[in-house]
């Protein structure tokens, strides 16, 4: 089994992520005074149509984008005031695996472990476990330049796990993966949640969110329009036995209608 950080008592643990009044404007508001709380140890799926502000939100949480306003707290650490401390316990995986073509997976993990200042002997043991687990051991010493998208994504995921983060943020991690690779990635993520790690994931594959996430947040127009378990969302949408797809489309259409109405009234 993989080693883990000692988890504090869940009752005393602050939220894994707490976002308050987050704002980011490009040519139009991408994230609009967003409030979001993710509990420690939960698997949280963030859904929304294209351009809803999911990736922008997560990039701000991961420290890849500077918010125009708002606060981001990761396990009680103010991520804007002390980004290094927040990053020490966070991992980020994007939809496009960014790894080095000229490094082998083992060298990539060695590099990531160095960035997170993990002692080499601990990192080496963890790296080999992860490569085994992700079925990459046979390719551990081959350069990544010839790897498929799935293999590259698995290397990126191994990089995210090698420093044993408490919060893993994933932006569309299953995009473009074949069924086998997707299954491995999903299994790894579920195992980490069981080990007490918090996962926040965006996805367009609603079936994945439905099966894996404990709570689901729906974002549209840069704001959180609904949040809860699948049953809570069904109740919110007034569709007791519907699938997540129906509920999601209903919520998004409602929001679009609500936003169009004031504009029509003004006209």
């Amino acid at each position: 089994m993989l080693t883990n950080l000692d988890r504090p008592d869940s009752a005393a643990t602050p939220p894994a992520l707490e976002v308050r009044g987050l704002v980011k404007t490009f040519d139009r508001p991408a994230v609009d005074h967003l409030d979001l709380t993710v509990r420690a140890g939960e698997f949280y799926a963030l859904l929304g149509p294209n351009g809803a502000g999911k990736t922008t939100t997560l990039r701000m949480v991961a420290g890849l984008l500077k918010p125009d306003a708002g606060a981001v707290s990761i396990f009680g650490i103010d991520a804007l005031a002390d980004p290094v401390a927040a990053k020490r316990i966070t991992a980020w995986v994007s939809d496009e695996p960014m790894i080095y073509d000229k490094l082998s997976p083992i060298e990539y993990l060695e590099f990531v472990a160095g960035l997170w200042s993990i002692p080499p002997d601990v990192a080496e043991h963890r790296a080999h476990e992860l490569l085994d687990w992700l079925e990459l051991s046979a390719h551990a010493n081959q350069r990544c330049e010839g790897f498929s998208k799935g293999m590259r994504q698995k290397v990126a995921l191994a990089g995210a796990l090698v420093h044993d983060p408490r919060l893993i943020i994933l932006d569309e991690p299953l995009t473009g993966l074949d069924a086998g690779s997707a299954r491995i990635v999903k299994d790894v993520l579920l195992q980490r949640v069981r080990a007490g790690v918090t996962i926040i994931m965006t996805t367009h594959i609603l079936e994945v969110a439905e099966r894996m996430a404990e709570r689901i947040g729906v974002i549209a127009g840069g704001r959180l329009i609904a949040e809860g378990t699948l049953d809570e969302l069904r109740a919110h949408a007034g569709k007791a036995s519907s699938s997540l797809e129906d509920v999601f489309l209903d919520l998004v259409n409602q929001e679009a209608g609500d936003r169009a109405r004031p504009a029509e009234n003004a006209a």
Binding site: K102, A140, R143
Partner: protein
């Protein structure tokens, strides 16, 4: 269940002969050679001229052309008129013209090698076009002709002002240089195609890419240093004039009637030489294109397949001891630099540029320090240029920027580690030369060390200030992403090199280039516009 096929379609059965005829006719009508040429011109135009800046680019280009003509006029004015009397019969004039042509030709082959490699390996729109019913032979022919014109234009931009001024000062016949330029371009393209095609067959697509890049880089360097090495070995100086004026060399040259002087005579305006050269070069190019166009699609497909081959294995199986972020970053940068084929060839070129000073050092070892001072600017210039390329790779071409940004390290730590890696790599190349110089002239070597450091510093600052997010694979196009950065890097490199040379020679004018380099570097430090 409803069928989504359009009403007139014949999806369930074979297409009618009239449909096939229409399809064939449409394909033939659209993908003609002319259509491909139009496509290429549009892409090239948009590649070179930013949107809405046509007038600006035209004005700047015109100013550069006028300035180059001014420089060329000054240069040509130095040639005594009597040296070119009865030029086509003068062994000295024929030798000078031939050496210039050989140097130009070598440079053009290097250019063409790079262009041909790109045509085979950079996928771009190739997958789209090759998966269409359009003829790959036509595409290949058009691309190769376009590359020939591009090579001629690129070199011509620098050379034509000299041809114009030669014609202005020494007779209209020198306009034959235009035809020689075209012929050399066609011949260089032919050679580049044959070399690349041959390598592809003999050593396979993966190695061909590296070899073609290395050959191109070596040829490019040879064009610059080729004349210097014999001059140093013969006379102990960098001056080629002493070598080609040597009566013993002039005495053994072939007769002026020899075919070896054909290009030189064409450049001087001999109509028969021009006709023969143009016909021979374009016939060779046409035959090569015709011969290779059949296998073009297959070569591209094979080249595309190399990324899907089994990845290269690394020797190490054990984890390293990189237990700090700075060490991990330095190790990663150096590892990536050493594993980059293009960089290896670039570094090789930098080392080749250091061959003449090394030879000069060897020839003059033990002479007075003043002779050795000439080495300092060369080493400083090479260090600055190498640092510019490496700094671009380390700073702008980070393939995993999200990983570095989300790592728990301060921003300046990542930057510092990258700069340290660049400095270390430059030290590996320039260090041995400075060390050898130090044995003969310690003070000169000290100046070389200080100014090499300054050149590396300036190049790194410029690359940092003009950084943009790019892929390592875009290294060849880095100069296009910011021409201002390229100009700043070049001018500071020249200024630091000049200052080092002047200081080593004890000349107080060295303060002028020092001020220029400092001013340019300072201006780049202040410029925060693009750094976000």
């Amino acid at each position: 269940m409803t069928t989504l096929a359009p009403p007139d379609s014949t999806l369930s059965g074979a297409a009618s002969s009239s449909d096939q005829h229409v399809a064939r006719r449409n394909t033939v009508d659209v993908a003609t050679v002319g259509w491909f040429i139009q496509h290429e011109i549009r892409l090239a135009f948009r590649d070179w001229i930013p949107r809405g800046k046509t007038t600006q680019v035209a004005i700047i280009s015109a100013l550069i052309v006028i300035a180059l003509h001014g420089i060329a006029y000054e240069f040509v004015a130095l040639i005594p008129a009597k040296a070119l009397v009865n030029q086509s019969e003068s062994p000295f004039a024929l030798l000078v013209a031939s050496l210039a042509i050989v140097s130009l030709f070598t440079m053009m082959i290097a250019q063409a090698m790079e262009a041909v490699t790109r045509a085979f390996y950079v996928r771009g729109d190739l997958e789209l076009i090759l998966s269409s019913p359009a003829s790959s032979r036509k595409l290949f022919a058009v691309r190769m002709v376009a590359t020939t014109i591009a090579t001629a234009s690129l070199v011509g931009f620098l050379i034509l002002p000299f041809i114009d001024m030669l014609a202005f000062a020494h007779g209209i016949g020198w306009l034959g240089g235009y035809c020689v330029l075209l012929a050399l371009s066609a011949l260089s393209q032919t050679l580049a195609l044959l070399i690349t095609g041959g390598l592809f067959r003999w050593i396979g697509p993966r190695r061909t890419r590296l070899m073609a890049q290395v050959i191109g880089a070596v040829l490019g360097a040879t064009a610059v240093i080729g004349g210097q090495v014999p001059a140093i070995l013969k006379s102990g100086t960098l001056s080629r004039l002493a070598l080609i004026s040597d009566p013993t060399i002039l005495a053994v040259l072939p007769q002026p009637s020899s075919l070896i002087w054909l290009p030189a005579k064409a450049a001087m305006g001999n109509p028969l030489a021009i006709s023969l050269l143009l016909m021979a070069s374009f016939a060779a190019l046409a035959a090569t294109i015709y011969r290779m166009s059949n296998g073009f699609a297959e070569m591209v497909v094979t080249a595309a397949g190399i990324s899907e081959q089994k990845a290269v294995s690394t020797r190490r199986t054990q984890f390293g001891r990189a237990n700090s972020p700075a060490k991990a970053l330095r190790q990663k940068e150096l590892r990536l630099i050493l594993r980059d084929p293009w960089l290896v060839s670039q570094s090789l070129m930098q080392i080749l540029y250091l061959v003449p000073p090394a030879l000069l050092l060897w020839r003059n070892f033990g002479d007075k320090a003043g002779t050795l001072a000439i080495l300092v600017p060369v080493i400083v210039m090479a260090s600055g240029q190498l640092a510019g390329g490496l700094a671009w790779l380390a700073i702008s071409a980070e393939d995993a920027p999200d990983l570095i940004t989300t790592a728990p390290i301060r921003d300046n730590l990542a930057l510092r580690a990258k700069i340290e890696a660049v400095a270390l790599a430059v030290a590996w190349v320039s260090g041995p030369f400075l060390l050898a110089l130090g044995l003969g002239a310690p003070l000169t070597a000290f100046f070389g060390l200080i100014f090499s450091g300054l050149a590396v510093g300036s190049a790194t600052i410029i690359q940092f200030r003009f950084r943009t997010q790019a892929r390592r694979s875009q290294f060849r196009r880095r100069q296009r992403s910011s021409r201002l950065a390229t100009l700043a890097e070049t001018f500071t490199g020249i200024a630091w090199a000049g200052a080092a040379g002047l200081l080593a020679a004890g000349n107080s004018i060295c303060l002028v280039p020092i001020l220029i380099a400092t001013a340019i570097t300072g201006a780049c430090l202040i410029n925060r516009g693009r750094t976000g």
